[in-house]
């Protein structure tokens, strides 16, 4: 039972990180009609900046710079590339982001080289006990911060001008434009928010119990893609639920691998994809996605 609770808690913390990234996917999709494959390199970029800067300027300043820098990079990509291709086929745009991802990933990999960069979280490898179940402070904070960020986002999404503009634009871009909503602005803010979310996810994804910044954390975003898809690519709530499902399912599959040994060792790795394909078979637009997303 203790093992179960521990796995659940850790799964939720992992899921919180996935949810942050998945939310980025969804926001960008809604605002720009782009399925971005570069969340992974944005996450890596954020973590890399924070890790490199935390020594000279301290963790908190580094975190601020890293988050701002990542958001700036995302906005730059939107302004320089995406915004100029408004109306281009979704597949072309997705492929474009793969190209950008490849460039950023290669460069950061080159810069990291063979090191494992330490982010220098003030909480280091500390652990806390919640109801008798141990979890690293980093992961506990991840849940809290992700909860606050996602909550804040949902409020903004529901009530702010940008939120309404974005939902309107997502539903009918031309009609929104006719209402005087600047689609370019909506799209830019979306990329900015996604950049922030990716950097924050990177901040926690590289803390204890993961060793630090290596190019491998790029793959974390890849596991968040199924989370976004299974929730429904155009559903923000779906991103949250999808992230948590993937996180918990992955942790459980890894923790109970003896019981599911017939599926092959190391099954936990593929759980996100298995869950996603299973969900898509039943609901082709994801759990909460609108069925009529035919434009993709």
């Amino acid at each position: 039972m203790n093992q179960f609770l521990s796995l659940l808690l850790n799964g939720l913390s992992l899921g919180a990180i996935y949810a942050l990234i998945a939310l980025g996917f969804v926001i960008i999709f809604k605002a720009s009609e782009v399925v971005t494959f570069m969340q992974g390199s944005l996450l890596l970029l954020g973590a890399y900046l924070i890790a490199r800067l935390s020594e000279p300027i301290g963790f908190w300043a580094a975190a601020a710079v890293g988050i701002v820098g990542t958001a700036a990079a995302a906005v730059l990509v939107e302004r320089l590339l995406i915004s100029r291709l408004r109306g281009a086929p979704v597949i072309s745009l997705a492929i474009l982001t793969i190209g950008v991802d490849l460039i950023i990933l290669t460069e950061i990999t080159r810069r990291i080289g063979s090191d494992i960069l330490n982010v220098g979280h003030p909480w280091g490898g500390d652990a806390v006990s919640i109801g008798g179940v141990g979890i690293t402070t980093n992961r506990a904070l991840a849940i809290v911060v992700a909860g606050i960020l996602i909550g804040a986002f949902f409020i903004a999404f529901k009530f702010s001008s940008w939120g309404i503009a974005m939902r309107a634009a997502a539903e009918d871009g031309e009609a929104a434009a006719l209402m005087g909503i600047r689609l370019g602005w909506v799209s830019m803010v979306a990329w900015l928010v996604a950049g922030v979310l990716a950097a924050v996810a990177g901040l926690f994804a590289t803390g204890s119990p993961t060793p630090g910044v290596t190019p491998a954390i790029w793959a974390v975003a890849l596991a968040a893609l199924p989370a976004a898809i299974l929730g429904g690519l155009d559903s923000t709530g779906g991103a949250l639920v999808g992230g948590l499902i993937i996180g918990v399912a992955t942790a459980m599959a890894a923790g109970y691998q003896d019981q599911i040994a017939f599926l092959g060792r190391g099954f936990g790795e593929v759980v996100p994809y298995v869950v996603m394909v299973a969900v898509l078979l039943v609901r082709p637009s994801g759990l909460f996605g609108t069925r009529d997303v035919t434009r993709v």
């Binding site: 086929p89 597949i91 991802d101 460039i103 199924p226 593929v270 996603m276 898509l280 035919t294 993709v296």
Partner: protein, 383 residues
Amino acid sequence: MSDTSTATRLVKGVVLLALLVVLLALPLYVEEFWLRTGFAVFAAIIGAVGLNLLVGTTGQLSLAHAFFLAVGALTYVYVSGDPGGSAIEYGGFGLPPIVGMVAGVVMAGLAGVLFSPIAARLRGIYLGVASLGLVFIGQHLLNTWTSVSGGFNGRLAPAFDLFGFSFGGNEEPYLAVLGVPFGQAERLWYLGLALCALACWFASNLLRSRPGRALQNVRDSEVAASVMGVNVQEYKAKVFLVSSMYAGLAGVLYALSIGSVAPESFSLLLSVQYLAMIVLGGLGSVGGAAMGAAFVSALPLVLQQYSGSLPFIVEPGQPGIVASQAAAFLYGGAIVLVVMFEPGGLAGLARRLKRQPRPPQESPPVSTTSSAPADSSSGGTPR
């Protein structure tokens, strides 16, 4: 009009023929490394042409190509390979390689058919990401099913032979042409060239045929296509079949090219590389896919080979950009530039250089948008 088109076709025919002659003569001159690189390029071309049928022509984004390549490669080594392995034992039927090759193509096609109900249910980007899942699930399967795959390190691929003529391994019967001994690399080159030419020929015929046009209609608008009497689901399933069979053949050649197969070789990166090939080459064009495949698969090797004489690339071990990174930058950058400025890819570029106007159905990039604005005077702009 018909005069010019005849002339164009003639020019095209002569160019193709000259290319073929050059390709046939090359093994007499170039070194084994280039022949092996060439064989890998031929394999990549076959795979890229197949993926292009799916993504470029029918507009279905697939990231699962690596999986279908794996099915082809694994089937080949299992059907034609012998049981073996030391740490991890694996089985094999030891049948003639040609049987293995055909089986590889058929099995990959079968895998495509099995996946096509999912493909039929999903559209566009949902399909893309679901197919991404297939790559991961496939790799897990390969790593787990060690009696077939040989596990993490993989297993050796049996050399190919056809009716006693060996394309590797023992190199029998001995053959020399104009004093050049034809060893494994030379023989494989011709095998690759023949299969590749066949695959390209079949694909261009398919595109020109009635079903080919139907596929393009499916891409442009599923609704419209079905109104016009195209059975969309059936066509989608069929194109998945053909595309994955191409991938299967590419997988067999991939195995022959490496000499062994390891699950790790069939990662997401491979799928992304194939996608890069067809985007760079030009979606929907067979020649473009071939050019893109040559570019993406040969670039890292060529850069590595000439790293000494290229100013921006350092020798391995020195600080700076090494060849494989330079290659990654180059094709990442090329993808961005192509999507931004030349959606027709290399094929579009070539066409533009020739300044030959084309009938519209050959030039457009993928278009999956079907949400025509309500007014009747929408869209309808010539491309």
